[in-house]
């Protein structure tokens, strides 16, 4: 089967690629769709940029500094933990 890149890319629209990007990045878009996305990305700069954006966002959210959170009542919890053990 010979198929030009353009033809292969038209088997899935940019709109579809954009909707499936997060699933695609986790290899959860399904085998057939995954293969069509790979072919599409090879010839579509817009979708390539979009997939990279979403991968960027995924990493960005993971890297956001997290505010340290302290327990409201650490002694109460510790007490309960110790008491639980004593009961047994």
């Amino acid at each position: 089967m010979t198929q030009s890149g353009e033809e292969a890319a038209s088997e899935i629209t940019c709109r579809e690629v954009a909707e499936w990007t997060s699933a695609y990045l986790d290899a959860c878009a399904g085998d057939g769709r995954n293969a069509r996305i790979v072919l599409h990305l090879a010839v579509c700069a817009g979708c390539e940029a979009y997939v990279k954006h979403i991968a960027f966002v995924r990493r960005l959210v993971g890297l956001l500094p997290k505010a340290p959170e302290a327990l409201a009542d650490p002694d109460g919890l510790r007490g309960a933990f110790v008491a639980r053990h004593r009961k047994q």
């Binding site: 940019c14 817009g46 390539e48 954006h53 959170e69 009542d73």
Partner: protein
């Protein structure tokens, strides 16, 4: 969600009978770290409890904030979650990771609390299936008809000179990203916090929230797309 259900049955008689001197049938599925930790917790080692709290407390507060009205309530729900964890250590059967089990307890309590507060808008939004019709990406960015229908009319521009690290070096960028995440509706915020902020595996997120994988990716992608728009806007405004 078995462990969570177990944690809420709350019969102490049952809990004692579960104290097994050896590994239970399912516990071999646990990672070595989790197994070691649960053994130390059941032995009553305070240091193990402290490290468990240090590891998950922040994430639990961030999760709770997605379900309840204010910070104080989120702290209460989280404190209450830790109490249940302490009381239910012997009910943990190792069918999920320790983290999934603890998060599951929190989600259950936070939803409950949200409902009791009669915050119907939040709760029904969490429970309802997302309106499947709505696409994550603005349809106006694509050609509507003709040969190019469904293909980009206004394609995104590459952020080639950017990295997440570079962007986050700016305090304004961090604040803009936080605002974008805080503005997400609870359904979207919860999956983004679990999957991308806390790095929970997809299957575990589905189990915790009792949603399908398809639903997870629909929500996750909408959430990421909104943050993507925030990045796009931030970069455009700065240029």
């Amino acid at each position: 969600m078995n462990g969570v259900a177990g944690a809420h049955t709350g019969s102490s008689g049952q809990s004692l009978s579960r104290v097994a001197p050896t590994m239970s049938a399912t516990e071999f599925l646990l990672t070595e770290d989790d197994h070691m930790l649960i053994t130390r917790l059941r032995r009553g080692e305070e240091a193990a409890f402290d490290s468990l709290v240090a590891k998950h407390h922040g994430a639990l507060i961030r999760m709770a904030m997605g379900f309840v009205a204010d910070r104080e309530v989120a702290e209460e729900v989280t404190q209450d979650t830790w109490m249940t964890v302490i009381q239910s250590l012997d009910l943990f059967e190792g069918r999920s990771s320790l983290r999934s089990w603890i998060f599951g307890i929190l989600i259950h309590k936070a939803k409950d609390r949200g409902m009791r507060e009669r915050r119907h808008t939040v709760f029904s939004a969490l429970e309802s299936i997302d309106d499947e019709g709505e696409e994550a990406v603005d349809p106006a960015r694509f050609h509507q008809s003709g040969e190019r229908a469904g293909h980009w009319a206004f394609p995104p521009r590459p952020w080639d000179d950017q990295t997440p690290e570079k962007l986050l070096a700016s305090k304004q960028a961090v604040a803009a990203m936080r605002r974008a995440i805080d503005a997400l509706p609870p359904t979207l915020r919860t999956v983004l916090v679990l999957r991308d902020m806390e790095g929970v595996e997809s299957a575990d997120v589905c189990a915790m929230l009792q949603i399908t994988e398809t639903n997870l990716y629909v929500r996750l992608h909408r959430a990421r797309e909104r943050v993507r728009q925030a990045v796009e806007t931030y970069l455009k405004d700065r240029a």
